[in-house]
Amino acid sequence: MNKIITFDSVGKKYGQKTVLSNISFSIYEQDIIGLLGPSGIGKTTILKLISGLEKPTSGKIFVSSKKISYVFQEPRLFPWKTAIENILLPLMVSGHSKKEAMNIAKHYLDSMGLSEFMDYYPAKLSGGMRQRVSLARALSLCPDILLLDEPFSALDSKRKGSLVELLAKSIEEYPMVVLYVSHFPEEAKKIANKIHTLSSKDKLVESNL
């Protein structure tokens, strides 16, 4: 199997504070990783390193694809753009024509059950709706790597369950490498086929399901 992401003795400091040290692991094609670990241990930092938002202080990171989508812990929509415009913009930046982008964006909003709300500004949407728009934005780009940082933590458990299912379906339809950060092993196991647990700043435990 092809390696998609490799961490080779990676260390990360913020100023004087060491968050990660000597972390090594590989992620392969079709891996769907549930990334677990206690709060403040460095899970978000690992996603930021993979996405290139942060650079490692030591060691090396290889990422084979540049097509990365990232759903943050917060929805992070552009408040001055409507739901559909938030999805259209990255699509058009990535080279789709306006018309193509429109069709794709509508399809994904529809799959999130949001077609009625496509012309709403984020301020008019509920927290859960915003996070679904954010997820639609990430999926619509058909990324090779999808980074999900506790994407549903702000939602009630019923909503969460249906979105997890929706996500699982999308990944089935369009295979990609997924890193799913969560506090809850049961939730991660619903989607993941492997679990990585960051138990201390220099210890990442891998297990297959």
Binding site: G52, L53, S69, F72, E74, R76, F78, L89, V93, S94
Partner: protein
């Protein structure tokens, strides 16, 4: 009418009555009454002299705030994104903002002589730092989290300017633009009074030397009218349009 409109209208009436009362108690060589000023303005409206001076001032104010606003915006955007450039530009910003405007008029007259170039230059120089400072502040306050989104989805430079920075600073920027309009009109009149042969400021100078007090106040009303047009007819609707996502 809502509470704000009612109170603003009352404040306006109080101002007018205050003016009327003051005028009744002062010699008419010092202060014209509102009625005299408005009558005189009405008479002036029938003369080409009014329109010649009115239009040239409008032209100078518009050009001045366009140049000043645009350069303040461009430099402010660059300095807001790049801190090194902000530090480099800071002494210049300080110099212009601390320089008394009378000195800028004197220098502008020395460099450009009398007339439009001088007035436009002055307005531009004095308004640019206001827009600059507000733009820098606005850009520095742009949500770091949205900047990360723009990085993840690889927005090119101009896409970021258009879809991230510009909307984010629309609020502080439109406040700055309203501010520089008032400022621009005030500077234009002063510059014209001191160094031009046409325009409202020039006409004000004439009324003063001829002691035509009602005409003087008619020109004052004209200046306020110009600012009101810029602010309420031009900029408020633009502001409302750009800030529509907040409502």
């Amino acid at each position: 009418m809502n509470r704000q409109q009612v109170l603003t209208a009352i404040g306006f009436m109080l101002l007018l009555s205050g003016w009327q009362i003051l005028a009744m108690n002062m010699h008419q060589i010092l202060l014209a009454s509102p009625i005299q000023a408005i009558t005189s303005l009405w008479e002036m409206l029938h003369t080409p002299y009014f329109y010649d001076n009115f239009l040239i001032s409008i032209k100078r104010i518009s050009l001045g705030i366009i140049f000043g606003g645009f350069s303040g915006f461009v430099f402010g955007t660059i300095a807001g994104i790049n801190q090194n450039i902000k530090y480099l530009l800071d002494p210049l910003r300080w110099l212009i903002m601390s320089m008394p405007s009378v000195i800028i008029v004197v220098l502008a007259m020395l460099w450009f002589g009398m007339g439009s170039t001088m007035a436009v230059f002055m307005i531009a120089v004095i308004t640019a730092p206001v827009v600059y400072v507000n733009t820098v502040k606005g850009i520095e306050a742009v949500d770091k989290e949205l900047i990360e989104v723009a990085k993840i989805y690889k927005f090119p430079f101009f896409t970021r300017i258009k879809n991230l920075y510009t909307p984010a600073i629309a609020g502080p920027l439109s406040a700055a633009i309203v501010m520089i309009t008032c400022q621009g009109a005030r500077i234009a009149v002063m510059a014209e009074l001191l160094g031009a042969n046409e325009g409202i400021g020039y006409a004000v100078g004439i009324t003063r030397s001829n002691l035509e007090i009602p005409q003087l106040f008619a020109w004052i009303l004209t200046t306020l009218f110009i600012v009101a047009i810029f602010e309420f007819v031009l900029f408020r609707p633009i502001q409302n349009y750009f800030m529509r996502w907040q409502r």
